[in-house]
């Protein structure tokens, strides 16, 4: 009897593996998020018998594993990558453009939130599908506002107000070491857009690092660090705990105002004290700037050129990114689904509260931008960060630093024309 069961078992496995094509899927989510994704994939596997999707957890990291596997002839069929990797990999022919397949499947830009369809596209070629979206907004600690006598329900609206609030909120101990940082700008390009600048001109397909408004933004960012000694800030920062824990510096009141993504709502719920209170709004902007800037980032699903099951992989991806599944997955991640209809799906609505609504509103009605995606990967971002450091340390003026970036990246891009 036992033998027979064993034989049957082996036979059924053989039959399944013979009939169903296996699609290997490198997903990048562990823990609860990974479990949520796996249960969605399980449903796909049960819903049909043509394809079996084997989901493997491979963290993206810096992409070393991905680069290695893409150089070989045996690759997974679907890979999860960071947004900035999409165009470099596509440009080098390591992942396939999806334009034709998307057109055939009837998936168009109107299915996606405005501005998201172009995300991950280079010279008209669409190399991947965004998994979920990550949106940055302005976050402030209401408790800290109360402490210094500011109205906790009114965030700064202009850059001038932001500067005033920052001065009030910065807090030092007797020895002069920082106890609380008033404002912590991290993603510096957000402020280029807030000031009315841009990093990329879609009309001419040129980078615009030294846009006049970018220079103004850089001048302001560096004036900010003239007030808070950069060195003091670094030392203070070295003591900040893990974002995904109760040692999160924002939750502990070590940062009063900052850029915050929607997943931090979940972090605050999980790890924040019950007395912790914070608000979310658009970024404050100067006169003539943009007060509705919405920075979007995230990860992508791509299909390697060397995959032998590209059609099956694409079919699976269309299912996975369909409205309902996208909504479920975004809800598990506390991210925002990239498709318009997913926003209305009940699976996503479960996580939509007043705070999440602000993010969705920014995304639907704001000035949405993503960091320009170029074949040179992170080089542009690295140079911009370095330029800001040079300005802050007084090595260069904002104009000198950004002129240098413009020249250098253009030089670099010449190799990719």
């Amino acid at each position: 009897m036992r033998k027979m069961i064993l034989v049957l078992l082996i036979m059924s496995v053989a039959v399944i593996s013979f009939c169903a094509k296996e699609v290997v899927f490198w997903n990048a989510w562990g823990g609860d998020e990974g479990k949520a994704l796996d249960s969605i994939i399980d449903r796909y596997n049960k819903s049909q018998s043509k394809v079996y999707v084997r989901s493997v957890y491979v963290p993206i990291g810096m992409g070393e594993k991905i680069m290695t596997t893409l150089s070989g002839s045996t690759t997974p069929d679907v890979i999860t990558v960071w947004d900035w990797m999409v165009v470099p990999l596509g440009y080098r022919g390591q992942i396939v453009p999806m334009n034709d397949r998307l057109a055939k499947a009837g998936i168009t830009s109107s299915d996606y939130i405005k501005g998201v369809w172009e995300y991950g596209t280079y010279k008209g070629k669409k190399y991947g599908l965004p998994t979920t979206l990550n949106v940055s907004a302005f976050m402030w600690n209401k408790n800290a506002f109360k402490e210094v006598g500011l109205n906790p329900d009114v965030p700064p609206k202009t850059i001038k107000e932001l500067d005033e609030f920052t001065d009030k909120l910065n807090k030092y101990d007797k020895k002069g070491a920082l106890k609380r940082l008033g404002f912590d700008p991290v993603i510096s390009h957000i402020y280029c857009y807030v000031f009315g600048g841009q990093l990329w001109d879609p009309a001419t397909n040129e980078i615009t690092a030294n846009h006049q408004k970018n220079i103004e933004a850089y001048e302001w960012l560096s004036s900010y660090y003239k007030k808070v000694d950069l060195q003091k800030k670094r030392i203070f920062q070295a003591g900040w705990g893990d974002l995904f824990s109760s040692l999160n510096p924002f939750l502990r009141g070590e940062i009063a105002m900052k850029e915050g993504s929607q997943w931090e709502i979940l972090i605050a719920k999980k790890y924040g004290k019950s007395t912790f209170d914070y608000g979310i709004s658009n970024f404050p902007a100067p006169q003539g700037g943009r007060n509705d800037v919405c920075n979007v980032s995230g990860s992508f699903w791509v299909i390697p050129t060397a995959s032998k099951n590209q059609d099956e992989a694409f079919e699976f991806l269309t299912w996975l990114t369909a409205d309902k599944q996208a909504a479920e997955f975004a809800a598990a991640l506390y991210n925002i689904p990239p498709k318009i209809k997913s926003l209305e799906d009940n699976a996503f609505k479960t996580i939509v509260d007043d705070k999440m609504k602000i993010y969705i509103d920014m995304l639907m009605n704001g000035y949405v931008y993503t960091f320009p995606m170029l074949p040179i990967g992170q080089a542009y971002l690295t140079e911009l960060t370095q330029a800001l450091m040079d300005v802050q340390l007084g090595n260069k003026t904002a104009k000198e630093a950004l002129d240098y970036v413009q020249e250098r990246i253009n030089q670099e891009l010449k190799n990719y024309k």
Partner: protein, 285 residues
């Protein structure tokens, strides 16, 4: 038959060492273009390197770390070896304790030292704070990044120390006895017997230290960021190769960088040889 037994090793060498070495040499003359096309660019990658400010910064940082770090680490491991060569109780235990840190993997070492050197929460600054001194910013201060890295490198002197220890035990005790009869003190013994007798060991240790120091990477990327921290003060050559390959996708350029590193290492090792030979001749004369 003998060939058959050694075949797995030969195959391993050919496939996993020789092939990548040759491939990277060829890649260093290419650039990946649109599609999967690989363009032949001749010496372009090598020329580009010598125009990059970061390339020189990386070389300078690596050289500073090596020129200060290696001699100090050599002296420290020699001193440790001399101390542990003294016959006493629990000699084995002490040797093990001194050797232990070098068994810890680079990543764990990096994480550990990141905490030790944390300017706000680390034990060093907490201690300095308790006796009323303001500790430095360590890795948060561009001026302190290199000293921090050098201090951290002393953590791994165990390996060098063991080799010195073996060298010390190879020195025949008759020399010391004869010297003592002639009235030599312990300083004279160290200077005229121990040091010259250890010369081959010192040469070996120095060369190995140069090679590892030029390739240092893992604990630095753990302790600092990809750019080598503020002002790129910790941007070492290994880090520069890595970011070019895996962040900026320039495989050809980083292959070229790797070959330049090989040339540098070769020159440095030859200079070390020369230096050791000359200082040896002087002692004989």
């Amino acid at each position: 038959m003998g060939l058959l037994f050694i075949l797995p090793w030969i195959l391993g060498l050919l496939i996993f060492t020789l092939y990548p070495v040759v491939a990277s040499f060829i890649l260093s003359f290419t650039r990946t273009g649109e599609g999967s096309a690989i363009k032949w660019v001749g010496l372009d990658n090598y020329i580009t390197a010598f125009r990059e400010p970061d390339f020189f910064r990386a070389i300078l940082n690596t050289l500073i770390l090596s020129l200060i770090g290696i001699p100090v680490a050599q002296i420290m491991s020699l001193v440790a070896a001399l101390l542990l060569n003294v016959k006493m109780k629990f000699q084995g235990v002490f040797r093990t304790i001194f050797f232990l840190p070098s068994v810890v993997p680079a990543v764990a070492t990096g994480l550990l030292w990141k905490w030790i050197l944390n300017p706000r929460l680390g034990p060093i600054n907490t201690f300095l704070d308790s006796i009323g001194l303001a500790g430095p910013g360590w890795l948060a201060d561009p001026a302190w990044v290199k000293p921090s890295l050098i201090i951290m490198s002393f953590w791994g002197i165990g390996g060098t120390m063991v080799i010195y220890l073996a060298g010390l035990q190879n020195i025949p005790t008759e020399y010391y006895e004869a010297a003592k009869l002639d009235g030599a003190g312990s300083w004279a013994c160290l200077k005229y017997i121990t040091m010259p007798m250890l010369r081959p060991v010192t040469l070996f240790n120095t060369i190995m230290a140069i090679i590892t120091s030029f390739q240092s990477f893992s604990n630095i990327i753990i302790m600092l960021d990809m750019d080598g921290g503020m002002k790129k003060a910790g941007l070492v050559y290994g880090l520069y190769i890595y970011t070019n390959a895996f962040r900026d996708f320039k495989m050809g350029y980083s292959s070229a960088l790797a070959w330049i590193l090989l040339a540098f290492t070769f020159v440095s090792v030859m200079l070390t040889y020369k230096f050791f030979n000359r200082s040896g001749d002087q002692e004989v004369s």
